[in-house]
């Protein structure tokens, strides 16, 4: 039976975006912004309602499956499992937050606030589509389509080098997407040989035997695209350039939501469709992930530009997520899923709060700051909390996921964990050194008289920080949704958790 809820969920923001786009030019900016926010809040409400009604389990809920292009085997098929639901929630939570935080960021851009908010809504809708698609072809369509709003958001609204950055972003993503296209087509070619005819439905592909060598090639195609998206070393260089030029809001949507498509795709497609190839590639991917973790962290330490620094921290964090995915055990995979959500929150907070500061001072360079805490204590405080969440301080949500990922890595191979764990030291260095240089010390010229955060700004950050803290102590609601899906993924991959030497339940009960 087909459910139209997901269609509604993804059409709501897209329709809203179109309405915004065709509003007459004389519509006041306030009306534009308020209606955009209203639409995104409505979407959030709908998504929450869906989340509440979500039937936990390994399968998909709210499924819809309609033939789309028969000859291609493409379906309009949507559905949410725990992994998708988590990321959809992340998307719908972050969109209103970004809107509120970027209330005036669109005013001076290429198409004014109307364009900004319309692109943001379009991006929201398409992202929901990406996370809800249960058909590879449909996924690919959404995957590529999301590039357009981001491209215009970066190129139209941002710093001096924004156009170049936007082109770089687009080309990297497109290149990855095209490589993936080859694999997507490969799926058609292989399934078309079968008696059932071509299909792109994940549910059917999961039981399809691609053969060893074909499966590996196709895995590589998917993986390259997702590695660029995620981004992993060595295809990460577009990210710092982009965040350096984009508005904080755009960076949030880019890093917190869009880049998750990469890691989401690794689970959904690399692992579930090509289990044999995934196992085959694990050693290489794990090494790449560890390099990403350390490389991103070191690069973050060496950055003098705050958005670049945050971008590099994300490279490091994405390394963790990929590590968690490819160790292929419950802890790693659940941790990676949770990590995606938590990283979304914490990086969003970090981008936004630093964005508030940068817009006040007019410089993104750490060396231009000093003593901000003195003049803007609330800003400094929220910056610190965001930063601490980024360095995975216990009590804040990213800790839980990072711990799970590292546990998973350790179970997989103690060496993997041993190389990844030093990142917690590096994380402390990059966050606290930045905090030290920006916030503490004597008040620098140029920082004097910097106003503290206003109510709008604080209230845009508040939901993020509340979630970070609450999930830091009580991640169970998300884990309860994620775990069954992870079990399902594991059974697809044909992996089960290695048993500890001593089998004994948690004796502390």
């Amino acid at each position: 039976m087909n459910s139209s809820w997901l269609t509604l969920l993804l059409l709501l923001p897209i329709a809203g975006s179109m309405v915004l786009a065709v509003l007459p030019a004389r519509t006041s900016a306030a009306v534009v912004k308020q209606s955009a926010l209203a639409i995104s809040v409505l979407t959030l409400a709908l998504a929450i309602a869906l989340a509440i009604g979500y039937q936990a389990g390994g399968g998909y809920d709210y499924s819809v499956d309609v033939d789309w292009i028969k000859l291609f085997g493409a379906h309009y098929a949507l559905g949410l499992d725990g992994i998708g639901l988590t990321l959809v929630l992340l998307t719908v939570i972050l969109t209103p937050v970004v809107m509120l935080a970027s209330w005036n960021d669109g005013d001076t851009g290429r198409w004014g606030p109307k364009g900004f908010f319309a692109w943001v809504l379009a991006l929201e809708g398409l992202s929901i589509g990406v996370f809800a698609a249960t058909d590879v072809f449909l996924f690919y369509v959404f995957f590529e389509a999301t590039l357009i709003p981001v491209y215009f958001l970066v190129a139209g609204y941002g710093g001096p080098a924004r156009v170049r950055a936007a082109v770089k972003f687009l080309l990297f993503s497109l290149a990855g997407g095209l490589v993936m296209l080859a694999s997507v087509i490969g799926i058609y070619v292989e399934t078309a040989k079968s008696s059932d005819g071509p299909t792109y439905l994940i549910s059917e592909l999961q039981h399809f035997d691609f053969g060893t060598s074909v499966g590996r090639w196709m895995f590589v195609g998917f993986f390259i695209a997702f590695a660029i998206k995620a981004p992993m070393f060595p295809v990460h260089t577009w990210l710092p350039d982009t965040t350096e030029s984009a508005t904080p809001g755009t960076s949030v949507l880019l890093v917190s939501v869009l880049d998750k498509i990469g890691t989401f795709g690794m689970i959904r497609f690399c692992l579930e469709l090509f289990p044999e190839a995934s196992r085959w590639a694990t050693p290489v991917v794990v090494v790449l992930a560890i390099i990403s973790i350390l490389y991103g962290a070191f690069m973050a330490i060496g950055s003098n530009n705050i958005p670049r620094l945050i971008a590099y921290t994300s490279v490091s964090h994405f390394g963790f997520i990929v590590l968690g995915i490819f160790v292929m055990n419950s802890q790693g995979l659940s941790g990676a899923n949770l990590y995606m959500f938590n990283h979304g929150l914490s990086t969003a907070a970090l981008f936004l709060v630093s964005g508030f500061m940068i817009s006040r001072r007019g410089s993104a360079l750490i060396s231009d700051y000093g003593g901000v805490e003195k003049v803007a204590p609330v800003l400094a405080g929220l910056f610190l909390v965001s930063g601490l969440s980024s360095l995975s301080l216990p009590g804040l949500s990213p800790f839980v996921s990072e711990l799970m990922v590292m546990v998973g890595a350790f179970v997989h191979s103690p060496w993997a964990a041993a190389f990844a764990v030093p990142a917690i030291v590096l994380a402390a260095i990059y966050i606290l050194w930045m905090y030290q240089r920006v916030m503490t010390g004597p008040v620098r010229e140029g920082v004097v008289g910097m106003p503290d955060l206003n109510v709008r700004e604080v209230s845009s950050l508040a939901p993020l920080l509340v979630l970070i803290v609450v999930l830091g102590f009580y991640p169970k609601p998300l884990l309860a949704v994620i775990n069954p899906s992870v079990q399902h993924t594991m059974s697809e991959v044909g992996k089960s958790d290695p048993q500890p030497k001593v089998t004994e339940g948690e004796a502390a009960k």
Partner: protein, 530 residues
Amino acid sequence: MNTFDAPTIEYFTVSPILIVLGVATLGVLIEAFVPRGRRYLVQVVLSLVGLLAAIVTTVIVFNRLNPGAKTPKGGKVVAMGALAADGPALFCWLLILVLAVLSVLLFAERHLEGGVTSFAGQAAALPGTEAEREASTKGLEHTEVFPLLMFAVAGMLMFPAAIVLLAVCVALEVLSLPLYLLCGLARRRRLLSQEAAMKYFLLGAFSSGFFVYGIALVYGYSGSMEFAEIAEAVSAQTGSEGLLLGGIALMAVGLLFKVGAVPFHNWTPDVYQGAPTAVTAFMAASTKVAAFGALLRLFYVAFGANRTEWLPMIWIVAILTMVVGSVLALTQTDIKRLLAYSSIAHAGFILTGFLGIRSLNVVPGGSLTGISAVLFYLTTYAFTTIAAFALVTVVRDGGGEATSLARWQGLGKESPLVAGLFAFLLLAMAGIPLTSGFTGKWAVFAAALSAGAWPVVIVAVLASAVAAYFYVKVIVLMFFSEPIGEGPSVTNPSVLTGSVIAVGVAATLLLGIVPGSLIDLLGRVGVFIR
């Protein structure tokens, strides 16, 4: 006394060709007999009516194939074995005719040049002379362009349907000769236009020399002009193989020249740039359809049996075409030239689909074949490109069309609509999903991959990435660069050009979102009769 055996001509089946030819002839007569002032209207209406009539008959003939059936009838050989009215042929007819309607609309546009068409008032008048000024003040126009166009269309209709080498040769010439002339008829920038015409003509003639020599060799090999008998000879491997190889090579040269494949592509940028934009649009869209239609039929039907011998050659050409087209487009500074190189790259993508040739018995019924993939790509590309060139005609400055990319800077500010639509078409050419460019790419790559041509597909994918860069560059230019000087201006076109743009954009969008019915149709009818 011998009995007279009247040739059987299935008049109704070939009526689209006959109608178009008739209208073309009529158009020539009109030039002779109708007063100058009325010719424009009469020619336009006549051409449109003729084309629409041809479309109607094509549709009727097409329906007799019963394309809704799981296995439609294969079509039939008509006109004493000269033409094949099968699925691919009829589909090409339909496509060419629709594109011809759009081209007529573009040809007839008079708003942009202040009340006259964009063709030379008097081709014979020297640029910059009194005669030309007079022609221009009198508002003279070359209404011969319409019959010329109709002749070319007639040739294009024959080209993909011809199953006798003789007919192929004639069709090739019928479609080419009017085009040579049309290229030289620009009202503005006459020198460029004439140069384009000359280059196109000389090279075209040169390449048809190769083509007919190829025909001669193939004839020498097989002893027949008919595709079916050639195919038999090829599979029976009678005759001297050297003749066959030479014939294949030389015929390939002629056809690859027409589609603008590397290394036979050099004319494309020069001619696309120099020709009147409406003609470029017509050429870019329709000629590709006709030429690929013919290429498909010749190679699939006549030479299909020894494809293992010629496929590697096509591999090389396809790779070269995609790479050279994409790379050279990177540094172009003129929008028409850029689109020309883009069309070269696209020819490479279509050739990739062309590689999807497989024996029918390994292809599961109703699934994607090389033929249907190529035809689908042609459809998507034709509409996108005709709309793109139509948009080029509306961006103007004091000297006519502003084709220099530098003049396109800041177009997004001047006219968000034009820039937005153009950006959309560029994204389609880049193959972004939700546009026809994506589904088209998918189809040709899938066809090629199914036939095992994965190295070409990988090159194609990389070339697409390179190509994306120059498309995006134009978008950047339009939206994010400051205009130089006064900046470009957009002249509002009449409903003629407007509707071409609308149709092109709509097709690009619809074939991107709901390509299902078309591709299913092609999946069913995309089979050559033999």
